[in-house]
Symmetry: C2
Subunit: 215 residues, 2 copies
């Protein structure tokens, strides 16, 4: 499988996890910052290889084979992210681009040994689940901070947006995975939140609250 094929599969996998319905050519093109015509070409190829179910003009979905392949790529991506953060001391906002390259390294033995070396983690540095060698995923109950009510208390277990900008903002506010967060007040006017993180009290916008997973 080529780099390009792997990137398409991964994109379709991620889009599927939010929408469920068949994925449109345009949605893929937008996510991958490429042109719809390029996507069409690739969908034909992936369909040939039985990695996707593709019907002209009707969108696309992953076959079982395609889904497993996509999960293996996600597995590699997230394990490498763990390695970068835990062993090489990268911060969580620096690892995405490097893992984007490392996820294409081909060696099952490598990834399984890496998994063991890291102590078989079930989540990456952003709180996203890591599929095991068979593609199984342990789902953690979690909800967005924005859905919480006044006086509720929870632990930060993940981020929805993993952009460097957002992660750096969280660092600045000293919000990390494992941080205890208490809703002090929910402002009805703009849906912003007054929260306590550890000992500090801060105000965060609804956009921030909509990208933090809490348990």
């Amino acid at each position: 499988m080529t780099f390009s094929e792997e990137n398409y599969l991964k994109t379709i996998y991620h889009l599927t996890s939010v929408s469920d319905a068949d994925i449109s050519t345009n949605a893929i093109a937008e996510k991958m910052e490429t042109k719809a015509s390029s996507v069409t070409d690739m969908l034909k190829k992936l369909s040939e290889k039985d990695l996707v179910n593709y019907v002209k003009y009707q969108g696309v979905s992953l076959t079982d084979k395609g889904k497993l392949a996509a999960k293996m790529i996600v597995r590699k991506h997230r394990l490498w992210e763990c390695f970068l953060v835990e062993k090489l001391d990268f911060s969580w906002d620096e690892v995405h681009d490097i893992a984007e390259q490392l996820e294409h390294i081909k060696s099952e033995k490598l990834i399984n040994k890496l998994d063991d070396f890291l102590g078989n983690p079930t989540e990456d540095p952003h709180g996203d689940p890591i599929p095991d060698a068979n593609g199984r995923i342990i789902k953690v109950e979690k909800q967005l901070l924005s859905e919480f009510e006044k006086n509720q208390i929870g632990i930060c277990v993940g981020v929805k947006d993993t952009s460097s900008d957002f992660l750096k903002y969280l660092d600045k506010q000293e919000i990390a995975l494992g941080s205890q967060i208490e809703i002090i007040e929910k402002e009805s006017f703009d849906s912003s939140f007054r929260i306590r993180v550890g000992t500090k009290e801060i105000t965060i916008s609804n956009k921030i609250a909509s990208n933090l997973y809490i348990k």
Copy 2:
């Protein structure tokens, strides 16, 4: 720089280290298992980028820029090999192909952090030197076992051939980096050697002796 360009640079670098003279198109083609015509095309491109000095029909050599680039690829390759052997517990005959992929990962920060994580090693698992971040290499005095005489004693510090077959043979004979080797007898007829490795006495062919570095 593309994968292909990096592979050509690396090949020219390795060929240079044995011959000194300009490298022929054919020599590159043979080493890379490709055709001379493909090599010519690539040499033109590398020359455009000032990575090689190339004169039609006259062979090729690396520019300073090209040599540094090649050393950085070798650095990455050898550091990843160290990682695979020391941290992930691969054996020395398994790491080459994986490092061949990892050497193309682009991130200076990654490789320097990996270097630190490994304790800034100066040699890879085959005894080959690892260039530092500036391309500097610590050369170790060493000679081939085949050049040794009767009754000489030395320590195995490297292998010339790094093929899996050869490395597995060495494993079988319990010869590893650091092994003490004593020449018991040199057979003049076929230039084979009777040697002592640790407590064991074995006979090795001249071909084997010509691929073991001793200090």
